[in-house]
């Protein structure tokens, strides 16, 4: 895999004044594969942090994206073009793969098709673009047709990288979906062959109906829809790798049980009730098994069962409470979970056969682990300095599993919980109270491009689809 999240862990430099040997080794190992440049806190204090990293000199591709133009005079063009252009720009801007050239640098005349491209005005200052994405949109006979091109404007002899045409019903939804598809094609080509995420979904909990129910939205926060109508409390949605089922925990007449929602049938489908209190499901990457916590044996432990609910068996057997399992999304061979046998909750890893339990976090209050798609990292919510009067709150951290080196991604401004990786491993969605109430936010996996996705009611526990 040519893409890997890049870390450089110059952590606690005010103590060490130099990276630890492990940090340096890790930085060298990862530097060549780096696309994203991760920073680490120079100082442990939440208010006092700076960006640093090993790959800061590597420039992203400069991509110019002039608004697509109308190809005919249909009155519907204006509205659909607005939706298309906004969605397309946001997808590329949020991707973390390219650097978009500001529109203020563009010439007055922008191209709508290949014959209108003037290479000189794009590949030299002020735009100095390496790539140009352009095209047109037309509504005719109830259909919307979008033509789009990606040009390498420095290669004037053979500039065409990509040319696509999309046809769909002339609706706002279609314009958005076409923008996602074309953006994903570009990100795939410019981002090292990793599929884009513009067509992915985020599942989450919202209380805006009056009860906490499971909702879904597009990855950019649009198209928010209520899925469940349980009328009690439903939490911890986890979508299956193939996207057809959502396991979640819900307060039923017989207590907290794992329920299963089918995205194909749009209803709850049968899944056994196990008794005790059952929380925090997690799918194995092959979709064949489910891990969750259950107190059916007396206190909360991690259990594993088949996707059908059969073959239930305990994975952990300690004295403490174990909850929030997170399967290794690449191998399916390990799991991270939260355990409190040393009092405050910490992150542990364990093999899927119950052997080799390892403590990952060394202090504080650490919860909500989520394993990265490439198998190398954990995202987690952590309050490192726990105690009365200690500064900071719970923030999102990344941890390199092999070395246990960590980096802080968010910096105070409220409590941050429930991180979940995007399918491409470049983004993290999480919940934060930084706006005053719990809402869902998204950022690149280096902590940049932080933006809010939900605004209505309280929205928590986001879970990003696997593709």
């Amino acid at each position: 895999m040519s893409f890997a999240v890049c870390f450089n862990f110059f952590k606690r430099m005010h103590l060490n004044r130099r990276p630890t040997p492990l940090s340096a080794a890790l930085a060298v190992r990862l530097a060549s594969a780096c696309l994203l440049l991760l920073f680490s806190p120079l100082f442990a204090s939440a208010q006092d942090w700076v960006r640093t990293g090993s790959g800061l000199g590597v420039e992203k591709v400069r991509l110019a994206v002039p608004d697509f133009k109308p190809a005919n005079n249909d009155p519907q063009n204006t509205a659909l073009l607005k939706t298309f252009n906004d969605t397309f720009w946001n997808d590329l801007d949020n991707s973390g793969v390219v650097e978009l050239v500001s529109k203020s640098f563009y010439p007055l005349q922008v191209p709508g098709n290949p014959t209108e491209v003037t290479f000189g005005v794009w590949n030299s200052p002020p735009p100095s673009a390496a790539m140009l994405a352009f095209g047109n949109l037309a509504v005719a006979a109830g259909k919307v047709v979008v033509q789009g091109w990606l040009y390498d404007v420095k290669n004037t002899a053979s500039p065409l990288v990509l040319g696509k045409q999309y046809t769909d019903l002339a609706t706002d939804d279609s314009a958005r979906i076409i923008a996602h598809k074309f953006a994903d094609e570009i990100i795939f080509r410019l981002g090292g062959g990793i599929q884009g995420i513009a067509e992915s979904k985020i599942f989450f909990v919202s209380d805006r109906s009056g009860h906490k129910e499971i909702w879904s939205m597009d990855y950019d926060g649009s198209n928010q829809r209520q899925l469940t109508h349980q009328g009690s409390i439903s939490l911890s949605p986890r979508v299956s790798p193939d996207g057809t089922r959502i396991a979640f925990s819900s307060l039923t007449k017989s207590g907290w049980e794992i329920l299963m929602y089918s995205t194909e049938l749009n209803r709850i489908v049968s899944f056994p009730h196990f008794g005790g209190a059952n929380f925090s499901p997690s799918w194995s990457p092959d979709g064949a098994r489910l891990a969750f916590s259950s107190s059916r044996g007396g206190h909360s432990q991690i259990y594993i069962c088949d996707a059908s609910g059969a073959n239930l068996h305990p994975l952990t057997a300690g004295k403490g409470l174990d909850v929030s399992p997170a399967w290794n999304r690449k191998t399916g061979a390990q799991m991270a979970f939260v355990g409190d046998s040393t009092r405050l909750p910490q992150i542990y890893t364990i093999e899927a056969d119950g052997t080799n339990e390892q403590r990952m976090t060394d202090q504080g209050y650490a919860v909500d682990p989520n394993w990265s798609p490439n198998g190398q990292f954990l995202a987690l919510a952590w309050k490192r300095n726990y105690g009365p009067g200690e500064p900071g709150s719970r923030d999102i951290y990344l941890m390199d599993i092999a070395s246990k080196q960590w980096v802080q991604l968010t910096h105070a401004g409220g409590s941050h919980d429930s991180p979940s990786w995007s399918p491409d491993g470049r983004h993290i969605v999480f919940q934060s109270s930084r706006s005053g109430k719990e809402e869902i936010w998204e950022m690149l996996a280096d902590g940049t491009k932080l933006h809010q996705l939900t605004f209505t009611g309280r929205n928590t526990q986001p879970n990003w689809s696997w593709k």
């Binding site: 939490l235 911890s236 207590g255 209190a277 206190h299 909850v323 409190d340 405050l344 909750p345």
Partner: protein
């Protein structure tokens, strides 16, 4: 009387009998009693009296009309009301059932009459108070919630008295089934708090079972931080939310 001799008693009885029969003759056969010359002066007529109330049943706050008629009476009074006209009527609004006693005195004697007005309690209002407070109220008053330390689920020292008192009440009321809800403050994470709340409810249940309360009367449920008692972000409020809460099960 008993000290009188038999003779005297016999004589007195005869005299009384004669006198009575004379009175009866006079009363019963007034018209026939005219002839004997010289007619003695007629004895003063005896007074008559009657009293009635309408309606004879009322509810508290309502009134009834008391009506009475007398004749040959110079002094008419009703107990509780006082002297009244020989004939008349009056509104009365007693709060309790009352017997009105009319006395009519005249030169011919005294005549009594009574009538009773019944006051009934209103039909639908205020059913008779139960002999004692309901079991649910008693449960609510007697069974105290158990409070916890931050991120802990063991029952701390200052809660032992409360749980022993709870166990005593619950042992004495062995027909009550109940639920223990485990609650946590807002600072922890959603999923971990659910497990912690579950453990708090279990701890309270275990302590009660150890004190002799039957386990099959007890349900436990965790609310984590989903149903806080107090919404502010300070220690006083957080402490309110870290508890095992008892709920009576109907």
């Amino acid at each position: 009387m008993r000290k009188t001799t038999m003779k005297q008693q016999t004589l007195k009885s005869v005299a009384t009998a004669l006198a009575l029969s004379a009175i009866l003759m006079l009363g019963a056969c007034k018209k026939k009693a005219a002839p004997p010359p010289p007619p003695p002066p007629p004895p003063p007529p005896a007074p008559t009296a009657s009293i009635s109330v309408s309606p004879d049943t009322i509810q508290p706050g309502q009134s009834a009309t008391l009506s009475w008629q007398t004749s040959n009476a110079s002094d008419v009074s009703i107990d509780g009301i006082g002297a009244v006209q020989p004939s008349g009527s009056q509104q009365v609004t007693p709060t309790d059932s009352t017997t009105y006693h009319l006395t009519a005195k005249g030169s011919g004697g005294t005549q009594d009459a009574t009538t009773r007005l019944t006051v009934t309690p209103p039909p639908a209002t205020a059913p008779p108070p139960p002999p004692s407070t309901s079991e649910e109220d008693l449960f609510g008053q007697s069974v105290k919630d158990i409070y916890f330390e931050y991120d802990k689920s063991d029952i701390r020292g200052d809660q032992q008295a409360a749980i022993q008192a709870d166990a005593q009440f619950l042992s004495q009321h062995s027909n009550i089934n109940f639920t223990i809800e485990g609650h946590c403050d807002s600072r922890g994470s959603t999923e971990y708090n659910l497990a912690l709340g579950d453990q708090r409810a279990s701890s309270v249940k275990s302590a009660l079972v150890a004190a002799g309360v039957s386990a099959n009367r007890i349900k436990t449920i965790s609310y984590g931080k989903e149903k806080p008692f107090c919404m502010e972000e300070n220690e006083a409020c957080w402490q309110q939310n870290r508890r095992g809460h008892f709920v009576y099960q109907k």
